[in-house]
């Protein structure tokens, strides 16, 4: 149910339903508060309309629980009729202290935390953190080729699933429910691939400093190729549904306008920046994990509006498919190659395997450490409990996440735990554009503008 409260005028009296234990009237000390929880709208309109100060400004709290604000985003809108005169964001409702928690766990365990931040792009969180740690360890050149290819493959699959959610939820918010259903249908296919490769649909903790946790399972490449073939059939459906749809275009075109100068001033990156026509993509300009070896194009649009951002996301999924195909071809030639760094002081000692009772440490490894080599057991124990030490210093290796520049500022004091890990999340930075994109427009356009930014509150609040 929509929960909206608005303040008008200057008196302290309160109307509306007051039996909501979480939204008492004591929240504000000025103005009149109307708490809308699904009662008879006529009585509410009457009580507002009967007020002498009705023509004064109305402040509407949209969120933090609202179906069209992409999670727990609170919008504070000052309205004049249907026009938004001022828009501000209230964030922090999903702050979970991930950065602080990481300071109390080992470097490898840090991946388990940061994968949960931007939950629609978990692999990009893991990747930027791992790249930062690897730079501090000075092992960037020692990452096995297969690990790099798998990182690229999973990142691009992740880009597709994230863009699908962006398009799906964006469509749902303007009433295009079919876009939502087909978007989540395809995303499910990507999540199935994630489940096949990492064992989990989200919160993978699959990229580790030094490589990736696990080799590709048998049959994964065939599944990936099937998926690419299927996506090539399905992606045109989105174009057919939306690209020239007059309702869709009317809602998106010239909404949420932000030009290049505005983007740079506000630090906006990703599809929003590329919708101004500027082809800035870290995969091309500052390649990491071997992106320079893949053939793909940076997608741009020149309208600087929500429609352009939608088209960019659509086109980027095609580019991701191209990269996935190339990565799959490479992986076919890398069967049996190592996926973890050769340095035994950093590499996670064990590989998982499917046993009769499910996934666990491989029996070969257990036999080795428990029956054959005392040193291997000590080594395993030390690496798993204590972890490795990272030389003091700081590193920042950003990656191009589906939403823009995602970077981890990793600081080490030479210990076995991160001294500080700060994530520059693109959702957090891009959300600052809400005001400039929506002020002066209609309330309905606020939703479209925010959907075009595609913020993920898990990343915003961390």
């Amino acid at each position: 149910m929509v929960s909206t409260s608005s303040t008008t005028g200057s008196q302290g009296s309160t109307t509306g339903s007051n039996d909501d234990m979480y939204a008492g009237a004591s929240d504000t000390t000025e103005g009149r508060v109307f708490t809308v929880t699904g009662q008879d709208w006529d009585s509410l309109v009457e009580s507002i309309g009967g007020d002498a100060g009705a023509d004064e400004r109305i402040v509407v709290n949209m969120g933090p629980q609202h179906p069209s604000t992409h999670g727990v985003l609170r919008l504070i809108l000052e309205l004049e009729g249907e026009t938004v005169t001022e828009a501000r964001c209230g964030i922090g409702y999903l702050h979970t202290g991930i950065e602080k928690n990481m300071e109390f766990r080992s470097w490898v365990q840090g991946v388990t935390f940061c994968t949960r931040m931007d939950y629609l792009a978990p692999f990009h969180n893991e990747l930027t953190y791992c790249l930062g740690v690897e730079r501090l360890l000075d092992i960037e050149d020692q990452i096995p080729e297969k690990a790099n290819v798998m990182r690229v493959l999973l990142s691009e699959l992740n880009r597709i699933s994230s863009h699908l959610v962006a398009i799906a939820t964006g469509g749902m918010e303007i009433g295009a429910l079919t876009v939502m259903t087909i978007g989540f249908r395809e995303r499910e296919l990507v999540l199935d691939l994630f489940e096949l490769i990492t064992g989990l649909r989200m919160n993978h903790a699959f990229f580790r400093p030094g490589g990736v946790a696990q080799d590709l399972p048998p049959g994964a490449l065939d599944e990936i190729r099937d998926f690419v073939a299927l996506m090539k059939k399905r992606l045109p459906e989105y174009a057919d549904l939306c690209n020239a749809n007059p309702i869709f275009k009317a809602r998106l075109e010239n909404v949420g306008h932000l030009d290049l100068a505005g983007c740079l001033a506000l630090g906006i990156t990703g599809p929003v920046l590329r919708s101004t026509g500027y082809a800035w993509d870290l995969r091309k300009t500052q390649p990491y994990s071997g992106y320079e070896d893949y053939d793909f194009d940076v997608q741009t649009w020149d309208t600087s509006d929500s429609y352009g951002r939608f088209r960019i996301r659509l086109n980027e999924m095609w580019e991701s498919l191209k990269i996935i195909e190339q990565a799959a071809d490479r992986l076919a030639g890398l069967e049996g190659a190592p996926v973890m760094i050769a340095d035994k002081k950093i590499a996670w000692p064990s590989q998982l395997a499917i046993g009769s009772d499910g996934m666990g440490n491989s029996l070969d490894h257990i036999r080795h450490i428990m029956g054959e080599s005392m040193e291997a057991l000590i080594h395993h124990f030390k690496l798993v409990t204590e972890g490795f030490r990272v030389p003091p210093g700081q590193a920042y290796v950003p990656v191009e996440s589906p939403r823009g520049e995602l970077g981890a500022h990793v600081v080490s004091d030479g210990g076995t735990k991160p001294f500080r890990a700060h994530f520059r999340d693109p959702s957090f930075t891009n959300l600052q554009a809400t005001s400039v994109m929506s002020e002066g427009g209609m309330v309905a356009d606020v939703i479209v503008a925010i959907a075009s930014i595609d913020p993920v509150m898990g990343g915003v609040d961390r």
């Binding site: 766990r105 630090g267 800035w280 500022h409």
Partner: protein
């Protein structure tokens, strides 16, 4: 005994000695605090003796000219405004005094030979052992024109945590500075609305500081009690 060992800190050679990073002479090594013990046990519980280990924490030392490549170009543009330059793992860090920060930012953004158009935000770091400069604000700047990245680091004492705001130059710093204030208590002078952004408005303290506990409650399982992560015995 520990005093003797502390005196030996200065003899610790620089950690990083790659060709691109000329080691600082002995005495200029950046040691901040020291690490004691190994397995997190102290007192009579320490039967291994490793609890007596003392090692200095040596951060990458200051680099000297020539820095190499475009590093010199940027350093030339900021001549006289830099406290110290650190080059580590191919990333350059300019340590700036807070009085110069706004000038430096303005120069970095507007000088055609520098052109750092994008500020990737502010990251606070709390070094409780870096006496007199406990709070660091770290800015990552990106030049899209030249495809370069630099890092600015401003250090202020805990007793006087004031840094000028960069909003006038980089409006994107707005939320980032609020976040750094929220988590570290660094006051960004000139910020139009320096309020909490992640924590509730009435939250006491600044949670990301090292002297702020992680929190958590002990977990009891089958009669045994496991303390919260920050009170557990752990490696250090």
């Amino acid at each position: 005994m520990s005093d003797e060992k502390q005196d030996k800190q200065v003899e610790q050679p620089a950690v990083e000695q790659s060709p691109e990073n000329v080691p600082a002479p002995v005495g200029e090594v950046e040691t901040v605090g020291r690490r004691t013990g190994m397995f997190g046990v102290t007192g009579t519980g320490d039967t291994s003796g490793y609890g007596g280990l003392v090692a200095p924490i040596a951060y990458p030392p200051a680099a000297r000219r020539p820095f190499g490549g475009w590093f010199d170009t940027v350093a030339d543009g900021l001549d006289g405004l830099i406290e110290k330059v650190v080059i580590h793992r191919g990333e350059i860090t300019f340590h700036i005094h807070r009085d110069n920060l706004t000038v430096v930012a303005q120069k970095l953004r507007d000088d055609p030979t520098l052109r750092f158009e994008l500020c990737s935000g502010v990251s606070g770091v709390h070094y409780p052992d870096d006496h007199g400069r406990e709070l660091h604000a770290v800015y990552h700047l990106l030049s899209m024109t030249w495809n370069r990245r630099v890092r600015l680091e401003v250090s202020v004492p805990d007793a006087d945590p004031h840094i000028p705001s960069l909003i006038a130059t980089y409006p994107t710093a707005d939320w980032h500075e609020r976040e750094t204030w929220d988590f570290f208590g660094i006051i960004f002078d000139g910020h139009p609305a320096l309020t909490r952004i992640q924590m509730p408005d009435d939250w006491p303290g600044h949670p990301q500081r090292k002297d702020y506990p992680l929190g958590g409650i002990p977990v009891e399982y089958k009669g045994a009690t496991i303390p919260p992560p920050d009170q557990r015995r752990s490696y250090n």
